[in-house]
């Protein structure tokens, strides 16, 4: 027995304790730093993005003038003139083409099409007065949200003093409202920030992920089962294993170039289509799924296999009847995490043209579309001021999806995980 009170042992012990405290301290500092960065990221996104979750609207009484809009000429007609007339009831003294155009600028460019669609759907409205609530154009939205300051000199802002006067008059008359901006989810992309929404990108991401899942899930599980349960252990299977692990680390842009050359160039598939995007993402997701599946299969205890074999089950019955069902929660978790990665992937989609400007949502994986991350990319590069907050809002939407998918993965794991 050594003497614990001896000087050398005590100093040694102190040193070891010091080391331990230091390591703990480093660990906590690292976690604290990561948490701080995450906080800064999310709070900067929220602080610039939350304003995009509302949209300034103006409500006006529109008299659908039969002189301007004739049933037999639909869908053409003087819809903008009718809208202008409704504003002129507030400002009867505005006249002249330039002034009228400026006044009409309070409405979003989409207002005339909203009105047109309503009248085309119900031509009986011609000759009646209807109430319409339409988005204001972006400069006025910025003004209402105080993103353009009123005390900036007039020459330095997009809205003139006179336009601010009009806006204030409408505001006092109760015509201005700022409801939740459902358009952010239900509209497709637009050149006008007040009309732009994520529907096309959401649908594009959905189709791409569906294709990605349909391809990578069966292929990944199949490959993993073969490698784990059936393949002989030899140099070839080692070589394949090493390469699958390497594939998981290949930068995604490489897969994009591959897809451009093979899927689009050689196989002649359409550019910008979620089908091609999904196939590219599947290439990236495959190694993740294979690795997760193999880990899940490995985690099933040998006793299960041996018991099944012992009662006379064939290898095939063991794998599909016993091992695979038990490994399923782990496989699903891996798959969902792989898909979440694919959802956030941008680089390969840029190469296959999924960063195009498209004002309609895709109805199938073959229609051209954008995806959430590429939509963010497009918005971030747009000069209009309204896109600054919309970019942040779109990132928040993307983050929400990622967090949801990861939460599902965690739930599945904790719910179905078996302790042996």
């Amino acid at each position: 027995m050594t003497d614990l009170s001896s000087q050398s042992v005590r100093s040694h012990l102190n040193r070891r304790n010091r080391h331990q405290t230091m390591i703990k301290g480093f660990g906590m500092a690292a976690i604290g730093f990561a948490a701080l960065m995450l906080f800064i990221l999310v709070s900067s996104l929220v602080s610039s993005g939350y304003k995009a979750f509302t949209q300034t609207h103006v409500t006006v009484e529109v008299f659908v003038d039969p002189a301007e809009i004739k049933p037999e000429r639909l869908p053409r007609g003087g819809f903008d003139d009718v809208l202008l007339a409704s504003l002129k009831t507030y400002f009867p003294d505005v006249s002249g083409r330039a002034d009228e155009k400026a006044l009409e600028g309070i409405f979003s460019n989409g207002a005339q099409f909203t009105l047109r669609d309503r009248i085309v759907a119900d031509p009986g409205l011609i000759g009646q007065s209807i109430t319409m609530t339409v988005p204001t154009s972006d400069p006025f939205d910025q003004l209402a949200k105080d993103l353009v300051k009123r005390d900036t000199p007039e020459t330095q802002r997009r809205v003139s003093d006179r336009e601010i006067g009009w806006f204030d008059t409408l505001d006092q008359a109760g015509a201005i409202s700022q409801p939740l901006n459902w358009g952010l989810i239900s509209n497709t992309d637009s050149r006008f920030p007040e009309l732009a929404g994520l529907k096309g990108a959401l649908m594009g991401s959905f189709w791409a992920l569906l294709v990605c899942f349909v391809i990578s899930f069966p292929l990944g599980i199949g490959a993993a089962i073969y490698l784990e349960e059936f393949a002989p252990r030899n140099r070839l299977s080692d070589f394949i294993e090493v390469n699958i692990n390497n594939l998981a680390a290949v930068p995604s842009v490489v897969f994009g170039l591959l897809a451009l050359a093979v899927f689009i160039g050689w196989m002649g598939m359409p550019r910008s289509a979620p089908l091609v995007g999904g196939m590219t993402l599947a290439l990236m997701t495959l190694p993740t799924i294979i690795i997760a599946t193999r880990a899940a299969l490995k985690a099933v205890p040998p006793s299960i296999r041996e018991a099944a074999l012992g009662v006379g089950a064939s290898k095939h019955q063991v794998v599909f009847g016993h091992v695979l069902p038990l490994a399923m929660p782990g496989i699903l978790t891996g798959t969902i995490i792989g898909l979440a990665q694919a959802l956030g992937e941008t680089a390969p989609l840029l190469l296959i043209g999924m960063n195009a400007f498209i004002t309609s949502a895709p109805d199938s994986p073959l229609d051209s579309a954008t995806a959430l991350p590429t939509q963010i990319f497009i918005w971030a590069d747009s000069p209009e001021r309204g896109f600054v907050s919309r970019t942040s809002a779109a990132i928040l939407v993307l983050l929400t999806f990622l967090i949801t998918m990861n939460a599902i993965a965690i739930y599945l794991r904790s719910k179905f995980e078996r302790k042996w």
């Binding site: 155009k101 349909v214 196989m267 498209i358 051209s368 497009i378 590069d381 747009s382 001021r385």
Partner: protein
């Protein structure tokens, strides 16, 4: 639900893809990121007004767009490409070689390149192009020929300028904006130096070679920072640093006039008027090119061109000028509209 079913549906999807590659009913557009916002505006208006499928507009850069555009005729290839400079002879040749022989060139308007600084900056800037060149070129004429640019502050360039460090954010070499800046600002600034003026009189060939070579290189040692294609990023950096300058299209300055102010060039601020009459020296024409073999084949393509060429879009105060483009003068506009709608084949580029 089985692996079998999933596999079958995968195969079915792939089969659909091959079938779909044969048919296309929407217009496909590629090209310059500068022309992109204008084409977007026309595409959206066109889809809204006619109810036709919305054209698909991709921003690939001028050079990238030309490559894809000139790759061939047929549904796999785009119908129209935007360009922030005229088509080069090499690109014209590529088009011809690939059977894209009938092309119409359309000049749609002008775009100014602005140099801007933060509104918070205390100094008001007024630079000549020669000063811009001396501040941002990799090499400048010095004693005994070309020397690496020694200027660190604007006062080094010209004693009358403030002693502020030179720092400018600008587009990367892949950008049409960069090509335009080099050609319009750097070359002009270079040609204005006494050294080049002397060379011009002495040796025409050497002069041309020098313009192409020494005058075209931006400095790499720090004061000029390539900020990528994202102009909003440059805008943010300018707001963070009051001495930094940014080089980008006029439309970005126009949208951000409350936080940025222009650097005057030779006493002129960029505006729709000064860009249109070329009194602001860094302005350039914008183009698009149409593949005439696709007119009448790709549904709605001719109608789309007509929308692009309509007065609603192109005239001063039209919806393109609301996006920051500077409209063509009336007579040139009328001429362009007629030629492009008709589909006049462009003259060969030599």
């Amino acid at each position: 639900m089985s692996l079998f079913k999933l596999t079958v549906s995968t195969l079915a999807l792939s089969a659909m893809a091959v079938g779909a590659a044969q048919a296309r009913d929407e217009i496909r557009i590629v090209g310059s990121s500068t022309v992109f916002p204008y084409t977007q505006a026309v595409a959206e208006q066109f889809a809204n007004v006619t109810g036709a499928p919305s054209p698909i507009v991709e921003s690939t850069g001028t050079g990238g767009g030309m490559k894809i555009f000139c790759a061939g005729i047929g549904e796999a290839h785009p119908d129209l490409t935007g360009a922030s400079r005229a088509m080069k002879a090499s690109e014209y040749k590529l088009c011809q070689d690939n059977g894209v022989t009938d092309i119409t060139e359309a000049m749609i308007g002008y775009d100014g390149l602005s140099i801007a600084i933060s509104r918070d900056a205390t100094n008001d800037w007024d630079l000549s192009l020669e000063q811009v060149f001396l501040a941002l070129a990799a090499e400048i004429p010095g004693e005994g020929g070309w020397i690496a640019n020694p200027n660190k502050t604007w006062a080094d360039v010209d004693a009358s300028l403030p002693a502020v460090e030179i720092l400018a954010y600008g587009p990367p070499p892949t950008s049409g904006t960069r090509d335009a800046f080099v050609e319009l600002a750097m070359h002009a600034g270079c040609e204005a130096t006494p050294f080049m003026k002397a060379l011009k009189d002495a040796d025409k060939d050497a002069y041309k070679a020098t313009v192409k070579d020494n005058c075209s290189r931006m400095r790499q040692d720090g004061p000029f920072v390539e900020a990528g294609e994202n102009d909003n990023l440059i805008v943010q950096r300018l707001n963070a640093d009051e001495h930094a300058m940014g080089i980008f299209g006029y439309s970005f300055l126009y949208e951000n006039m409350d936080t940025l102010k222009p650097v005057k060039i030779a006493g002129v601020s960029p505006s729709a008027e000064t860009i249109g009459d070329f009194s602001y020296p860094i302005s350039r024409p914008l183009f698009f090119y149409t593949k005439n073999a696709h007119r009448g084949v790709i549904p709605n393509f001719q109608e789309f061109i007509e929308e692009y060429m309509s007065d609603d879009a192109m005239e001063p105060g039209g919806y393109l000028s609301e996006r920051g483009m500077v409209a063509l003068p009336d007579d040139l506009r009328a001429e362009t509209q007629d030629a492009v709608i008709e589909g006049k084949t462009m003259a060969p580029k030599e």
